[in-house]
């Protein structure tokens, strides 16, 4: 939402008639990139129902993370969610789709099939054992299929990864991929609380607290006290 929080590494320069924010280019670019990921509607198997369709609907709401604009065209997308098994016939097509995406592009491999071949790893003659044999993957989300909450966990991991990266000096350098598995014993309620915390941390400003820290806060309080005593 682009609201200013205390964690913003920026200086606010004031001048008559307005103010100016001075921040680092990396921060501004990364923040924009992380919060406006446009996924590609690329689903091959069961995970597509959970990852792309159920999360896009109202119950689990992908748009809270700015990632709900699912695009059917690769040229407009910058996040590829590999939802499902990749077989040898599909692998060249997937590579082609990946290469058509504009930089910077990110890949989340969801589900056991896309991570390692999953249940089809043994005895299958046509499966590609993990999507990372074909294209570089940023975040792995294990599960068969992962819950939508687990997918959000992976998306948050990707957003953190993007925010920490350097986009100006070393634009092409990829960070190491991460395995964004839900920690052991974590329930759906815990995930919801965590997501809530993440969202609030970035997007909510305590207006009253903010106002009290201002130099004119004492004057306003005085004015409110006076006006209430008159009435």
């Amino acid at each position: 939402m682009g609201l200013i929080t205390e964690t913003l590494p920026a200086v606010i320069e004031k001048f008559p008639g307005g103010s100016l924010i001075v921040t680092s280019m990396d921060y501004a670019i990364n923040c924009s990139r992380a919060n406006s990921l446009w996924p590609l509607t690329f689903g091959t198997k069961c995970c597509a129902i959970e990852m792309l369709m159920a999360t896009g609907a109202a119950h689990q709401d992908l748009s809270r993370f700015g990632a709900e604009v699912a695009r059917a065209s690769v040229r407009q997308a910058d996040l590829m969610v590999i939802a499902g098994a990749i077989v040898k016939k599909m692998a060249p097509r997937m590579r082609m789709l990946y290469e058509q995406m504009a930089e910077p592009r990110y890949v989340i491999a969801t589900g056991a099939c896309a991570v390692s071949g999953g249940p089809f790893m043994y005895n299958s003659y046509s499966i590609v054992r993990g999507a990372d044999e074909v294209i570089p993957v940023d975040v792995y989300v294990p599960g068969c299929p992962p819950r939508p909450e687990a997918f959000f966990w992976g998306l948050l991991a990707l957003q953190k990864m993007i925010k920490e990266g350097e986009s100006v000096r070393r634009p092409g350098i990829r960070r190491k991929p991460v395995m964004a598995a839900l920690p052991n014993g974590m329930t759906a309620a815990d995930v919801r609380a965590e997501i809530q915390r993440e969202l609030e941390q970035d997007n909510v400003i305590d207006v009253e607290k903010e106002a009290e820290s201002k130099p004119w806060a004492a004057k306003v309080k005085e004015w409110i006290r006076k006006s209430s005593s008159i009435s």
Binding site: T44, A48, G56, A57, G84, S124, Y125, I127
Partner: protein
């Protein structure tokens, strides 16, 4: 009878050269494998004249994992989870198909309670699957709101499954000899609540989308499938019934406890996209009726009649069993050698494969935009086609 096999390259040659320099030339357009309508990876090669479709050549196989070959090295209990991953929107029914064939082969008895639970779960999933299909069809035809409504109901039914089964999509619940777990104590109350909630919802669906002029225009009299053609192509499920053929395995085969409940087989009159749409809407209502009749009288008894650590011995022979999934007849053909538990070979007869090829009969003569409505009304699940 001779069968000529033509490769895709041969099919893609233009059938005739234009006679006149100003005549239009036929050309080919690829639809897929990356296409929003395919809901997976399916490639359709369209031979077009202007915008009119002359021919459709489906090219499946982008999700072919070789499940049937894999199953030759697995025991029956190990095969069950793989059937989840074929038609993942009818996971319970797929489980049931392989379970039925194994139970027939090994002579395993099941009891009334097991059969009732299996029937209940299957019907709940039929409602869920059709609700999802309704939402996605709305999205395909340009009404995104329908998608949100369809998934709202899917979540409600998913929560029932999650409570009892522990999974939302890949169930692995119906096993040879019974079901994996007993139903959750909350199950009966929850299902009743959801059914009371679902009844007006189907009417809401009708209010929201069915009467819409755009939907009617795009579906009525588009892609008419005659009953003869539907039978010849091997179509099953709502696609066949929309053409006016009252073929429903729930009535024909008497598996589960379907012979105890009162429900209608919904048939269409014309066989166009609209009939296929409305047959599914009515099937949701019929499924709600079935669930409501069964939910009050789940008999007592064990939910598993077989010990887990014992191998399932199947005498030598060939066995076939089929069930009615949300998309049609799903059959499992199994050859037992008698020496081991493992089948050799195992073949799945999937409804989507036959329903897909009906597009070759449906599409010619229509416009490209009508292909979207036709494919949407067939309700294809691609991994079930490719296996």
């Amino acid at each position: 009878m001779t069968v000529t096999i033509r490769t895709l390259n041969e099919l893609l040659q233009p059938s005739h050269l234009p006679a006149h320099p100003l005549a239009t030339q036929e050309y080919f357009v690829n639809m897929g494998p990356q296409h929003p309508i395919s809901h997976g990876s399916l490639r359709l090669v369209l031979r077009l004249d202007g915008e009119t479709v002359k021919e459709v050549i489906p090219v499946p196989g982008f999700v072919h994992r070789g499940v049937e070959k894999m199953c030759e090295s697995l025991t029956p209990r190990q095969i069950v989870p793989y059937t989840d991953r074929l038609d993942y929107l009818s996971a319970f029914m797929n489980n049931w198909a392989i379970t039925r064939v194994v139970e027939t082969a090994a002579g395993i008895e099941s009891n009334e309670r097991i059969e009732t639970i299996r029937t209940l779960m299957s019907e709940l999933q039929r409602i869920q699957s059709h609700a999802l299909w309704w939402g996605v069809t709305g999205m395909d035809l340009g009404a995104f709101t329908a998608f949100l409504y369809g998934f709202r109901e899917r979540e409600v039914i998913s929560e029932i499954f999650e409570e009892t089964v522990g999974a939302r999509l890949t169930m692995n619940y119906i096993q040879p000899g019974g079901v994996m777990y007993d139903i959750h104590p909350n199950f009966v109350k929850r299902v009743k609540d959801v059914m009371a909630y679902m009844k007006p919802i189907i009417d809401e669906y009708d209010t929201l989308l069915s009467g819409n002029v755009i939907l009617q225009e795009r579906c009525r009299n588009i892609g008419i499938l005659s009953p003869e053609k539907a039978i010849a192509l091997g179509c099953t499920g709502p696609v066949l019934r929309a053409s006016g053929v009252p073929y429903d395995l729930r009535k024909m085969e008497n598996y589960g406890v379907y012979n105890k409940v009162d429900f209608n087989v919904v048939v269409g009159a014309v066989g166009d996209c609209w009939d296929r749409y409305y047959v599914r809407m009515q099937e949701m209502r019929e499924s709600i009726r079935i669930v409501e009749q069964l939910i009050d009288s789940i008999p007592e008894g064990p939910t598993m009649t077989l010990r887990y650590n014992l191998p399932i011995e199947m005498p030598e022979g060939t066995y076939y069993s089929q069930v009615e999934t949300a998309r049609g007849v799903f059959g499992a053909f199994l050859v037992a050698e008698g020496k081991s538990e493992k089948p050799y070979p195992l073949h799945f007869r999937s409804p989507n494969y036959n329903n897909l090829w009906s597009v070759t009969a449906l599409a010619p003569g229509w416009r490209v935009a009508d292909i979207i409505a036709i494919l949407s009304s067939l309700d294809l699940v691609i991994p079930d086609i490719d296996r």
